[in-house]
């Protein structure tokens, strides 16, 4: 896209909405935490202190320790790497493939549309989590497979959203005008149609990142995600479930991490939608 977004005014406009700004700040913070996890974390994520298991929060362990005496704060910090990675990469996979299929279906219509969308409908009929489970079970555990499973399972949704957007944009005059000025089919799709249906996609993607983090957590819980001792927020949450009555800090802190990340993604998504729509610019 040749339309460059000037970064400074972009941030300015975004910061008009307090919630969006909070989302952006918190996500940047999480990104920094993920990148510098090795520097920030007080302990290694697999370092066990067997004399000090299930300790409540203290100066030494701000978020307490788990059943093996591992520092919860350090595990959350390292876990942010995995969650963010899985969230963004799997959405990127879904966006690229789903977006392409949806755009082709919507633009060419007719039989092409029919075949692509019926296949998508079949996949949509399978619950996304189940679909992810079956893909992950076929591929086996591991970070790459986890991302692939979550991403592939989300492709039909993105195809739907993109197709709906393309259908509504395709019939507008400036698309016809562009055809009349000699634009090729793919030029028109990428230059004129896709940027104009970006708004619903952005919202879908931010929600998608959030959902992907949840799906990844679910897969880890049943042993299809990352293998222990790798820290994963969802897996931490599900092991902490056993101790929820006596040691709630094992679920509260990973839960908070998931909640705040997802919340800020949603805030940011809404804020981005408002900013990226030039009609709302003042």
């Amino acid at each position: 896209m040749s339309t460059k977004i000037n970064f400074i005014p972009f941030i300015k406009r975004l910061s008009r909405s307090k919630t969006a700004f909070f989302g952006l700040i918190f996500l940047c913070f999480m990104l920094l935490v993920a990148i510098f996890a090795g520097v920030i974390a007080p302990y290694a994520f697999s370092e066990q202190d067997l004399l000090n298991t299930l300790a409540t929060p203290s100066m030494e362990h701000p978020f307490g320790t788990d059943e093996f005496g591992r520092d919860v704060l350090s595990r959350i910090i390292y876990g942010s790497r995995i969650s963010l990675l899985v969230g963004f990469i799997s959405v990127a996979i879904a966006l690229v493939f789903g977006g392409f299929l949806g755009a082709v279906a919507g633009f060419f219509g007719g039989r092409t549309d029919h075949y692509i969308m019926r296949v998508m409908d079949v996949f949509l009929a399978i619950p996304q989590l189940l679909f992810a489970i079956s893909v992950a079970a076929t591929l086996g555990p591991g970070l790459g497979n986890l991302m692939l499973a979550v991403g592939v399972a989300a492709i039909p949704q993105y195809a739907r959203v993109v197709r709906a957007g393309v259908l509504s944009i395709r019939s507008l005059d400036y698309i016809e005008a562009s055809t009349a000025s000699g634009g090729g089919k793919f030029y028109i799709i990428f230059k004129h149609i896709l940027p104009n249906c970006a708004a619903p996609l952005i919202v879908q993607s931010t929600l998608g990142v959030a959902f992907a983090i949840l799906v990844a957590a679910g897969l880890s819980f049943i042993g299809l995600g990352l293998e222990p001792p790798n820290p994963e927020w969802g897996a931490m949450l599900s092991t902490g479930r056993e101790y929820i009555r006596d040691f709630p800090h094992l679920t509260i802190f990973p839960g908070l991490a998931i909640m705040l990340t997802i919340l800020s993604l949603n805030f940011l998504g809404d804020g981005l939608r408002d900013v990226l729509d030039p009609k709302l610019r003042r």
């Binding site: 016809e176 005008a177 000025s181 000699g182 090729g184 230059k191």
Partner: protein, 322 residues
């Protein structure tokens, strides 16, 4: 060789129930520098003619039932879509009716014009194309400091100026304007028409103007084609058509223009409605509404033929001066 030659073009729109005959044998020929106005009521086939020249008819919902559209001798209907892309915009450009929706809302206007230029000159750098775009926008009267803005910051008249700038960016040989001023108010209309007039004269562009406003064609066009039910009924130079309308339909059309100097209770109208577009018409399509209809009109279809110099007609019983 004519620049554009349309021979007996028949186009149907396909619907579930029946085929809609949008064009029933249009024949038209344009030389370089001509300016022709297609005039007719809604559904007369004006826009269909324009879209078919550029190959923009919806592929699954329309069918060419015969005829040819020759551009410098090549039949455009037989060209591949790749070849058509090279003709569109570069040789034949089109201005659409509604400037509000003819521009991509996400791209700044100068970039949109530059895009158009780069589409047909791939070697041009982005910077050079932007410079050309700026020139182009200045020539349609947009101030330099506003060229870097988005379409929604422009008024309707300014947007139409941008659309005109885009259409003329590659100096096309033929410009098709599909009711370019209907969406604008009257004062802006005359400004835009004035602008088009100057630019067309400067560049020697051939023009096809589509409108239902006889006032607009009389300002911009030398030749006028009166269309009705997918046919051309009368084709004449502007002066001949206004001074000596020969077809009963043209007569009715001119009579229905209100004259501000005459006090009248009601405006003159033509009785009846245009024929159903799905109908197969044996004789002249205007028969049911025609006051001069004779027996021959019902059974035989009149063909557009030259009645006087530069004045063609499809009628068996036309009005004649004398």
């Amino acid at each position: 060789m004519s620049l554009l030659e349309i021979n007996n073009l028949n186009i149907d729109y396909l619907t579930e129930e029946a085929d809609v005959h949008a064009l029933r044998g249009i024949t038209l020929s344009l030389e370089k520098g001509d300016s022709i106005g297609l005039v007719g009521e809604t559904g007369a086939g004006k826009t269909t003619t324009a879209l078919s020249i550029l190959g923009l008819l919806p592929p699954q919902q329309s069918a060419v039932r015969g005829g040819e559209i020759k551009w410098r001798g090549d039949d455009l209907l037989k060209k591949s879509s790749k070849d058509l892309e090279a003709v569109r915009g570069k040789e034949i450009a089109m201005i659409f009716q509604d400037p509000m929706t003819s521009l991509n809302p996400l791209i700044k206007v100068d970039e949109q014009v530059a895009e158009m230029i780069r589409l047909h000159d791939k070697k041009l750098s982005k910077k050079d194309s932007l410079r050309l775009a700026l020139q182009q926008l200045l020539s349609v009267g947009i101030q330099a400091e506003r060229c870097n803005e988005y379409p929604h910051q422009f008024s309707g008249g300014m947007k139409q100026r941008v659309v005109i700038a885009m259409a003329l960016a590659c100096s096309p040989n033929l410009l098709i304007a599909d009711e370019p001023t209907t969406a604008l108010d009257v004062t802006i209309q005359s400004q835009v028409l004035e602008l088009m007039k100057t630019l067309i004269k400067e560049n020697g562009t051939t023009l096809i103007m589509i409108t239902h406003d006889l006032g607009i064609v009389s300002e911009l066009c030398e030749t006028i084609a009166i269309m009705y039910a997918g046919e051309i009924l009368e084709l004449a130079t502007k002066d001949q058509l206004f001074d000596n309308p020969m077809h009963p339909y043209t007569h009715g059309l001119l009579a229905s223009i209100p004259d501000v100097t005459v006090e009248k209770e009601r405006l003159a109208t033509l009785p009846g409605l245009p024929p159903e577009p799905t109908e197969d018409i044996k004789g002249c399509s205007f028969t049911p509404r025609c006051s001069r209809c004779i027996d021959r009109c019902r059974n035989e279809r009149p063909v557009l033929s030259e009645e006087e110099k530069n004045h063609s007609l499809a009628c068996f019983n036309p009005y004649r001066k004398s």
